[in-house]
C-alpha cells in the first residue's frame, strides 16, 4: 500500500507538467479515465502504466492460482504407483486386475449366489495397504452349455447409483436397498411388483478365467469397477 512521503525528490519539470495534464480532469467514471486515450503525452503515459498494471497484476494473480489448480486437477488422473517389491507378485495384482476369489467348491451347487470379497494390494494416495478387501462380488453356478462358463460372477455394486445389492431368498432376486432396483439370478433387470426399477442396466457381469477354473478348480475373476448410471459398462481405470 501507499504511505506518506516526506523527503523531497528533485522533479523533472516536463514530467510534472505532463502529470498535471493527466490529473487536471478528475474522471467522471473510472472506465472513462482508462478508455479515453487522448492524443496527449500524459494520457499515453497513463495508458502505458495502466497496461503495465493490468499485465503484471494479472500474472501475479493468476500464477499461484494456476499452479494450485494444476496440482488439484491433474493429480486424480495420475496412474497409481505400486511399490516395486509388490509389482510382479504372480497374477494377483493391479496389473491384470485378475484376482483369486475362491475354490470352486466354495460356491453352492444349487445355483444360489454367494458373496465373496476381493482381496488385493491397495494404493491409497500415500498409503500402501497389502491384502485389503477392495470390493465384493457374487458367484453362482449355472448349468453350463458348451462354450459357456460354469461359474458366473456379478459385481455387488448396483449399476444405478452405486449402493451394494444383496441376494434375497424370498424373491430369488438381487435387491438394492437404496432405490429399489431388482435383478434376477442371471443379473438381468427384473420387475418385482411394488418396486420400480430405476437401474439403467443389469448387474455388471465379470469375466471368470476359464483356464484356471478348468485346470485348478479355482475361481479367478477380472475385477473392475464400472461407472454407474449409464446403459453401457465403462470401466473406471
Amino acid at each position: 500500500m501507499v504511505d506518506e512521503p516526506t523527503d523531497p525528490v528533485p522533479v523533472n519539470k516536463q514530467e510534472a507538467s505532463e502529470n498535471e495534464v493527466a490529473q487536471q480532469q478528475p474522471p467522471s467514471s473510472p472506465g472513462d479515465a482508462v478508455k479515453s486515450v487522448e492524443p496527449q503525452a500524459g494520457a499515453r503515459r497513463n495508458f502505458f502504466w495502466a497496461l503495465l498494471a493490468i499485465v503484471a497484476g494479472g500474472i501475479v494473480g493468476i500464477v499461484p492460482l494456476a499452479i494450485g489448480l494444476y496440482t488439484f486437477l491433474v493429480g486424480p488422473f495420475q496412474k497409481k504407483q505400486t511399490p516395486l517389491n509388490y509389482e510382479s507378485e504372480g497374477d494377483q495384482g493391479a496389473a491384470s486386475n485378475e484376482y483369486f476369489v475362491a475354490p470352486l467348491g466354495a460356491i453352492p451347487e444349487d445355483g444360489m449366489p454367494r458373496r465373496f470379497e476381493i482381496v488385493a494390494d491397495r494404493v491409497d494416495a500415500w498409503s500402501f495397504i497389502p491384502g485389503q478387501a477392495i470390493g465384493a462380488i457374487f458367484l453362482s453356478r449355472q448349468k453350463a452349455e458348451p462354450g459357456q462358463s460354469e461359474v458366473v460372477a456379478f459385481h455387488a455394486t448396483c449399476p444405478h447409483a452405486g449402493c451394494t445389492v444383496a441376494f434375497n431368498v424370498d424373491t430369488d432376486a438381487f435387491l438394492c436397498p437404496c432405490h429399489n432396483s431388482s435383478f434376477g439370478k442371471d443379473g438381468k433387470k427384473m420387475d418385482l411388483s411394488g418396486r420400480s426399477n430405476p437401474s439403467p442396466r443389469g448387474l455388471d457381469k465379470l469375466e471368470v478365467n476359464q483356464d484356471k477354473l478348468a485346470r485348478d478348480g479355482e475361481v479367478w475373476v477380472k475385477y473392475l469397477n464400472y461407472y454407474t448410471g449409464r446403459k453401457d459398462m465403462k470401466p473406471k481405470i
Binding site: 501507499v2 502504466w49 498494471a53 499452479i67 500402501f128
Partner: protein
C-alpha cells in the same frame, strides 16, 4: 457486444454501486505522486494472498495426524504433479513475508506514518507481524519431519516458562502432555484456520484505516499529486511480479522446500533449528542464563517498546529514538542470526581451525547430524519406492530397515569404540584416537566398515595394517597372538608370488564364510575356480590358522571361530555375547572390552545391526533381484 457490456455494467452498478467503489479504490490521491518505496504494503498483501491460495491447495492433500502428516507431505512433494512447486512457493513466500515486514515497518517509521492520528493503525500492523510469525511457527511443525518436530518441541517447551499458567499453557498448546495427533490437529487448525482468519480481519482494518487517514502526511514535496491508478498500481504490481519471480526462482533452484526424515520421538535430532528467521531468538537463548529472560522477558520488552513507539513520538526526540531503536533492533537481529549460522557452520567457514577446538567439534556435530538426517530421508525415499508407506506410518518402514536403524544403534552404543568409515573417512567416526599412543590403555576397536569382506580381511592380514587404529592398534589384542602372527610369521610366508596367491585364497575362503550380498558373484566365481577349496586347505594346512581358530571340523577354540565368520549367526553371537563358546569363550579374559549386548538390545535391534554391518539391505534393487532369483532357482 459493447452495448451488452455497457448495459451489464449499468445494471450491476445501479444495484451495487460498483463504479463508486472502484473509483474510490483507484482514484485515491497520492500527495507528491507515486513512489517505488510505497510498494512494500501491497507486496505483503500479495504475499499473504499467495499463501492463502497455495495453502488451500496444499490443504487439499494434507492430512494432520502422526501417521499421515509426513506421508501426505511426502506425497505432495514427490508424487503429486506440481506439488513440489506448490509447497515450495508456500514455503519460500512465507520467508519473503518475514523479510518484507521489517522493511515495510522501517519505511512507515522513517516516513513518520506511525504518528498521530495513525497510532492504532501502527499497532494493527504490529499485530499482523505477530500473526505472521505465529503462522511461520505453526507451519513449521506440520510436515512432521525431524527438523520441524524437534525445533517446535523447543518452542513449545518454552511455552511452559511463564509463571503461574505456564504448565497449563503448554498443555493447551500441545493438546496434552505429549506430542501427538492433537498437537498436529491443533497446530493445523491454528495455521490454516484461526491465524489466517485473524489475519484477514486485522488486515482489513489495517487497510481501511490506512484509507481513512489518507496517504498524506506533512509533505514538503514539490512533486505534483497523482492518483493511485494507474502509476502506483503498476509499481505495486511490478513489485509483486519481481517478488513472485524471485520466489519461484529460489524454489526451482532448490528443487522445492526441504523435507526431512519423518519425526521420530525417540531419535533426537541434533541439527534441530527453527526456521532461519527465528534463529536470532534461538541464538539469544544461548546468551541469557535464564530461558525465562531470553525467551519471554527480552522479546516481551522489545515488542512492548514497538507498541509504545507512537506514544514516544510525541516527545521531542522520540522519533529519532524510534528510528535508532529500529536500526539497532534489526542490526542485533542480523548479528544474532549471523552468530547462529557461524556457530553451526564453524567447521566449514574456518577449515583451518584445529579439530580439537570445541567450536569445531560442536559445528561438526551439527553438520554430521544434518548429513545423517539427509541420508535418512534419501533412504526412506528408496524404501517407499520398494515397499510403499504402511498404514502405521513411515516410522514403521524405518524401524524395520537395517540401513536406518543400524547406524542409529551403532552411533549410540558401538561408536564409543568402533568406527565405521570407508577409505575416504566417510561414515561414522569412532573414538578420537588423535592423542592415543601405543602402550596407552586400549580405547578403540576395529573399524567395521566392510567387515569380513575381502578388502577388510586383506588389511587385517597386512603386516603393516593389522596394528593400525583401524584394526587392533587401539585394543589389547595389539599384543596378542594374532598381531604377532601377522607381523611375525606371515611376512616371510607371503613374500613370493606363490605366497601372495595363497594369501588371496585364504582371504577368499574366510570371506566366503560370511556370504555377503556384495560378494555373491565373487564367491560363486571363486568356488568355480577352486580358489575357495584351496584357501580352505591352506587354513588348516600351511597357514595353520586352525592352530588357534576353529574352522570346519577342526574344533580348536583358542580364538574366535572362522566357521561362518562374518555370517549373520556369527555376528549375532558376537554382538549378543562375545564370550560365546565359539568366540572369546575359550578362555577367561580373552575378550578385550566388547560388552554383551543381549541385555541392552532387543533381538530386533541386534538383527538390524547385523544386517546393516553385512550390507544385506543396502541395495534394495539387488536384494529384490536376489530374492526373486532364489524363488526361481529351486
Amino acid at each position: 457486444m459493447k452495448k451488452i457490456i455497457h448495459w451489464l455494467v449499468n445494471w450491476t452498478d445501479e444495484r451495487t454501486g460498483v463504479r463508486d467503489a472502484i473509483r474510490e479504490g483507484l482514484y485515491e490521491n497520492i500527495p507528491g505522486g507515486s513512489r517505488w518505496r510505497y510498494i512494500t504494503g501491497s507486496m505483503l498483501v500479495f504475499a499473504f494472498m499467495t499463501q492463502v491460495v497455495t495453502g488451500i491447495f496444499l490443504w487439499m492433500s494434507y492430512s494432520a495426524g502422526t501417521q499421515n502428516a509426513w506421508a501426505s507431505v511426502y506425497y505432495i512433494q514427490n508424487v503429486m504433479p506440481g506439488g513440489w512447486l506448490l509447497r515450495g512457493i508456500h514455503h519460500v513466500m512465507a520467508q519473503a513475508m518475514v523479510v518484507l515486514m521489517p522493511v515495510h515497518m522501517l519505511q512507515v517509521i522513517i516516513d513518520k506514518a506511525y504518528k498521530k492520528p495513525r497510532e492504532i493503525n501502527f499497532w494493527l500492523g504490529l499485530v499482523l507481524m505477530l500473526i505472521t510469525l505465529g503462522l511461520g511457527l505453526t507451519g513449521y511443525l506440520l510436515p512432521w519431519d525431524q527438523k520441524g518436530y524437534w525445533a517446535t518441541k523447543v518452542a513449545t517447551e518454552l511455552a511452559a516458562l511463564p509463571p503461574v499458567v505456564g504448565d497449563e499453557m503448554q498443555r493447551v498448546v500441545v493438546g496434552g502432555s505429549d506430542y501427538g495427533h492433537h498437537t498436529l490437529t491443533r497446530f493445523f487448525a491454528l495455521h490454516a484456520g484461526v491465524l489466517p482468519a485473524l489475519m484477514v480481519i486485522v488486515l482489513a482494518l489495517h487497510i481501511a484505516m490506512f484509507r481513512r487517514h489518507g496517504i498524506t502526511a506533512e509533505s514538503s514535496d514539490k512533486r505534483p499529486d497523482e492518483y493511485f491508478w494507474p502509476k502506483q498500481v503498476a509499481k505495486d504490481a511490478i513489485g509483486c511480479l519481481i517478488l513472485l519471480a524471485l520466489v519461484v526462482g529460489v524454489v526451482v533452484a532448490e528443487g522445492g522446500a526441504e523435507l526431512g526424515a519423518p519425526a521420530e520421538p525417540t531419535e533426537e535430532y541434533n541439527a534441530a533449528r527453527p526456521e532461519w528467521y527465528f534463529l536470532f531468538l534461538f541464538q539469544a537463548l544461548k546468551l541469557f542464563h535464564s530461558e525465562f529472560v531470553g525467551a519471554i522477558v527480552v522479546p516481551g520488552l522489545v515488542v512492548t517498546f514497538l507498541f509504545l513507539m507512537p506514544v514516544l513520538a510525541h516527545w521531542k526526540y522520540g522519533h529519532r529514538l524510534n528510528v535508532a531503536f529500529m536500526v539497532g533492533l534489526l542490526t542485533a537481529t542480523g548479528v544474532l542470526t549471523y552468530m547462529a549460522l557461524r556457530q553451526d557452520n564453524y567447521a566449514t567457514w574456518y577449515p583451518d581451525t584445529p579439530r580439537s577446538d570445541q567450536r569445531v567439534k560442536d559445528s561438526l556435530g551439527y553438520l554430521e547430524a544434518k548429513k545423517s538426517g539427509h541420508r535418512e530421508y534419501e533412504r526412506i525415499k528408496e524404501l517407499i519406492r520398494y515397499k510403499g508407506i504402511p498404514l502405521e506410518g513411515p516410522n514403521k518402514l524405518q524401524q524395520e530397515d537395517p540401513e536406518t536403524m543400524g547406524p542409529r544403534i551403532f552411533r549410540r552404543l558401538c561408536a564409543s569404540c568402533h568406527g565405521w568409515k570407508d577409505e575416504q573417512g566417510e561414515g561414522i567416526a569412532g573414538p578420537s584416537l588423535l592423542e592415543f599412543n601405543p602402550g596407552d590403555p586400549p580405547i578403540g576397536a576395529p573399524n567395521l566398515h566392510g567387515f569380513a569382506s575381502r578388502q577388510w580381511l586383506e588389511k587385517l592380514l597386512d603386516p603393516e595394517k593389522v596394528a593400525s587404529h583401524d584394526y587392533f592398534g587401539a585394543t589389547r589384542h595389539v599384543e596378542g597372538q594374532m598381531v604377532e602372527y601377522v607381523t611375525g610369521e606371515l611376512p616371510d610366508y607371503i613374500e613370493g608370488d606363490q605366497g601372495k596367491a595363497d594369501l588371496k585364497a585364504v582371504i577368499a575362503a574366510v570371506s566366503a564364510e560370511a556370504g555377503l550380498v556384495d560378494q555373491v558373484e565373487l564367491d560363486a566365481a571363486d568356488q568355480e575356480s577352486g580358489l575357495l577349496q584351496r584357501g580352505r586347505e591352506l587354513i588348516s594346512g600351511d597357514f595353520g590358522c586352525n592352530n588357534c581358530h576353529t574352522f570346519g571340523e577342526d574344533e580348536v577354540g583358542g580364538a574366535p571361530s572362522l566357521t561362518g565368520y562374518g555370517s549373520a549367526t556369527w555376528l549375532r553371537n558376537m554382538i549378543s555375547d562375545p564370550n560365546h563358546a565359539e568366540l572369546y569363550g575359550y578362555e577367561e579374559g580373552a575378550n578385550d572390552r566388547m560388552p554383551a549386548f543381549s541385555q541392552t538390545l532387543t533381538d530386533h535391534h541386534i538383527e538390524m545391526l547385523v544386517r546393516w554391518l553385512r550390507g544385506d539391505d543396502r541395495d534394495l534393487a539387488r536384494k529384490l533381484e536376489l530374492e526373486r532369483n532364489a524363488v526361481q532357482a529351486p
